[in-house]
């Protein structure tokens, strides 16, 4: 019988590596999606996931049984991703202005028909995410994709409630600018096989 998350943590805490493997098998993929959206690169996302599990292993004793293992791992992953982004050389990350310039719709840019593929939307969205500050990006991803509450986000990112809300507001504003091209025609993007698939 497959161990549930809390039981796996308890056994891993006692040194059972197979139990820890259960957590890696179960949560790697979700953490990868999160890490990819945070870093924008597949290889960086893999490094973040790896570091997340190493930190989680070191911190097994701090996990409280009444908590949710997924939320605990998300929190570690967000912190790892933020650390990763901060350690990344400045030149690799686009400035906010550059990113906004790239994501703003232009008269000569692609039409809605050209941009209907999910992969293209994904790429566009990743550029938009790259234009957010680390905290805006983390707050937005936690709220939009992972359904974390404002309190959980604030606690993870070390922000007060109002600051957390404002990070989300700023992020949504910027993401809306980026998504204008897809919203204008109200067209649903078609599914396209490849790197991006429906969640």
């Amino acid at each position: 019988m497959q161990l549930d998350d809390v039981a796996a943590v308890a056994r891993a805490r006692g040194g059972d590596q197979e139990a820890f493997k259960v957590l890696v098998d179960r949560h790697s993929r979700t953490l990868y999606r999160l890490a990819f959206r945070m870093t924008g690169k597949a290889e960086d996302a893999e490094d973040v996931v790896q570091e997340t599990f190493i930190r989680a292993f070191r911190q097994l004793s701090r996990f409280e049984a009444r908590s949710n293992v997924s939320t605990w791992l998300y929190r570690i992953a967000f912190n790892c991703a933020v650390d990763f982004l901060r350690s990344r050389p400045r030149r690799e990350s686009a400035t906010e202005d550059e990113a906004l310039e790239r994501m703003a719709p232009s008269a000569t840019g692609p039409t809605v028909d050209d941009l209907v593929y999910a992969g293209q939307i994904g790429e566009r969205m990743q550029v938009a995410l790259g234009g957010l500050s680390e905290k805006e990006r983390a707050a937005f991803l936690m709220r939009h994709y992972h359904g974390c509450s404002i309190e959980e986000i604030g606690s993870t990112l070390g922000m007060k409630t109002n600051a957390t809300k404002h990070s989300i507001f700023r992020a949504v504003k910027k993401m809306r600018v980026a998504m204008q091209a897809f919203v204008a025609g109200r067209e649903e993007p078609k599914e396209r096989p490849g790197q991006w698939s429906a969640e």
Binding site: E46, F169, E199
Partner: protein
Amino acid sequence: MTSGNTEHPTEDDLVLLFYGDTSPADEGRLAAHVDACDQCRPLWQDIQASLAAIDAAGSPEPPADFERVMWARVQREIEGMRPATNWWAPSVWMPVVTLAAVVLAVVATMRMPDDGAPPPAGDTTIASTQPERALLIAMDDHLERSELLLVEVMNAPTDTDAVRLGFEREAADDLLMSSRLYRQTAAHTGNVEFASMLEDLERVLVEIARGPSELNQNDLNTLRAHIEEEDLLFKMRVVTDEVRRRQQAIATVSEGDL
């Protein structure tokens, strides 16, 4: 909601509405307003459509064998690593208290000789048993880990605006409770020099463990100055040498008994 009943909601209000972060009362009022208001409805629809478009992007997917590859990477890193200890669990701190008490009882009876000469082989208090040797080894390990931590802090890079102390904070936190127990026991058993060194060490460990995870160069210099002012690394090395000398003395006596 920042606007009154009859006023138009702000864009931020509508974002809260979208994510279900408004109070039930505000939710009903806002929903009714955007339904009825020709001015607000387009903005509300635009917010909904934009965020729906983000969902339509799908998710980035790793390769098919990602879990297997990730486990291989993680397993390589955690091999030989032990999960950090939760010092607040009684199952953990009770043995530590016992350990500390016995170690310090042994150390207190040693009272480092002024001339540095090994104690007489017939001193039964010191050369008594192997368990005492094991305890000295534990003390040695504690001092060695503490020294490594301080050396890392002293050698942190100085060419960056800020230095992250993530692992150093965790290590300091792990060392803090055992250090405190050793220090209290040393004080109770009258080993003043040892207690004094551990008190200096404890102050620095608290500063690292409870300080910010990211230090600017000024903060880092202040921390280093505290370590240097106390001559802490030197004192720790002196005590470590003494603990090792005692281990050796016990080992020599044990071999002689065979």
